[in-house]
Symmetry: C2
Subunit: 346 residues, 2 copies
């Protein structure tokens, strides 16, 4: 990157959402007297009798978990979306509302209460990916489902209410805004160039190198040029595919490997079980062809300076634009230089 941008306030453009981020690289020297988070040590117990996600335990809704041995999913007992909802629509002058159908699921990554993605075995992460594939296809096939959002909230800083490693899936009737924005911008590029915009983007990044964190034969993990969160990253397949169901067996192993390496680096950054929200963006399941879509997985981690000081997306960010202090290139360099052996094993 040009030095002007390395050291001075500037804005950067996100090619997927069409939005801008304000970058203030000179501001990292700011002292911090604000909120300090707790440090999070890795869990030790492989089973917790009070955990409603551990195998054989009874959940809050009264249902009992089977003695599952690998990645396992079930319908959320407190689902935000439900398949059966009385249909309704309000169009009263300026007030517009519409009933919404959907399905919310919980995905336990492993029967072992202590195993987060970075400390799971690669083959068990492959099981998680296979489950994501099945859920995307099965939920996506339901007549009232047009979008399947797979995500993970990790750590209590990210609103996670149970430390047993798990993710969620919210599938629904409408296509959410974030996906609509990305559909529009990918489609514009596709129309103009008959090429995936992300394919073009990773070709550029492979030349520039400065934002790449990890790479393997099928995937790239990088800090996107337009990253908002201090250590935000994206995992992008090198092959232009619309959704995770199109990954073959071999690519699933590569995907598992890069998820593991990236999340190990995250934990190693501040020697903590690194909090984040991660999500997979892929083609909607609305029955349309989506040749423009290039699936990717994004990680939005809140930590900024240490295991206890995070970035707050508050006043200015809520009312104006997202803002960050360190540059994408600085963040990528820090992550790139970290070991791929988990700190707990050193």
């Amino acid at each position: 990157m040009d030095n002007t941008f390395n050291e001075n306030p500037h804005r950067r453009f996100n090619i997927l959402t069409g939005e801008w981020v304000l970058v203030s690289p000179h501001r990292t020297k700011r002292p911090w007297q604000g909120k300090v988070e707790k440090t999070v040590s890795p869990l030790k117990d492989t089973y917790d009798e009070n955990c409603y996600l551990c195998p054989t335990n009874t959940r809050m809704g009264g249902k009992k978990n089977p003695d599952y041995k690998k990645a396992y999913s079930f319908i959320n007992d407190f689902a935000a979306l439900m398949p059966e909802v009385p249909e309704g629509e309000l169009q009263h002058n300026l007030l517009q509302a519409k009933s919404e159908k959907g399905v919310c699921k919980v995905v336990c990554f492993s029967p072992d209460h202590s195993l987060t993605l970075p400390v799971m075995e690669e083959k068990d992460i492959v099981e998680v990916i296979s489950l994501w594939q099945r859920e995307y296809l099965e939920l996506g096939k339901l007549p009232f489902i047009n979008h399947v959002q797979i995500f993970e909230n990790k750590g209590d800083t990210m609103g996670c209410s149970n430390p047993h490693p798990h993710g969620q899936i919210w599938a629904q009737e409408s296509i959410p805004q974030e996906t609509l924005k990305k559909t529009k911008n990918q489609a514009n590029y596709w129309k103009g160039f008959k090429k995936s915009i992300l394919l073009e983007y990773i070709e550029q990044e492979l030349k520039a190198k400065e934002r790449i964190v990890v790479e393997n034969k099928d995937f790239l993990a990088l800090v996107p040029f337009w990253a908002i969160w201090p250590y935000e990253t994206m995992i992008i397949p090198k092959r232009h595919i619309q959704n995770i169901a199109l990954l073959n067996e071999d690519e699933k192993v590569s995907f598992a490997a890069i998820i593991k390496e990236l999340t190990i680096k995250y934990d190693n950054l501040f020697n903590t079980s690194f909090p984040y929200s991660a999500g997979i963006h892929q083609a909607p399941t609305d029955g349309e062809d989506h040749p423009e879509w290039h699936f990717h997985m994004s990680f939005y981690p809140p930590l900024l300076r240490s295991a206890t000081v995070k970035k707050f997306m508050v006043g200015y960010e809520m009312f104006a634009d997202p803002q960050r202090d360190i540059t994408a290139e600085q963040a990528a360099k820090s992550l790139r230089e970290l070991s791929t052996i988990h700190y707990s094993k050193l």
Copy 2:
């Protein structure tokens, strides 16, 4: 509201941003085992010798505060934006960046370290409003400033790094996204109907009544139909004016009164110094006429169930759409029924 929407998942449309929110009213029964915030007691000391915002103290940058007696502003010592920045623009295939000029200021609401807005005297809040007016005009007049964002981050949950009651102003070259969205939607309505969309909206709300929290002769405070945060509110002037500088002396007193009443209700909701980010959205200072703009002040408070349990805008919300549990009507009812005498004075 129709019962279908009171009890079942639905989406609502925001007429200002053009975006949707997912509402899951049935989900309030969800148990919570996640993160618990600290309770915040009101501050007692009127002066703190270690506070870099108290009068006569020396700030971190080395500058000394005057012995100010009412609302006081100064240039942020760790400003995210600066007036002198080498100009630069990057347009390299998919990478787009642009240098950004601006000014960041801190606004101390009162010399008294312990006085948040709800416990300040009305006449002293009028001083804050007068200062906001002057800053909007003066900063807005600078040739490189096209937008002035006034906001407050209150409470350490909202990333506030100093408890001395204060807000901020970030003025800049570009018009931020949130303001652009609102400009576009207000302009569309203005073109079609030659009326402020917010004027039409508050006329409807005054009839429906169910989302109104406080009202006085010049202002309305309500939970907008499309609120995202559990107890989100908006203060809207009944007269169609583009910016706060157009408030006359009488209206400033009404504005101060409604800010005070609303923030007292907030503190009374959970008997805590209620955290939020508040911001004033108004016409950009780009030299254009903005007849479409109707200024308003929004409050985004994170608390959901108690002084210690907040709503997290994480996974689904980051990757898909914002989501809320209680409805806008339920939130408005709770706030409306609260006393306008601060709990610390009862």
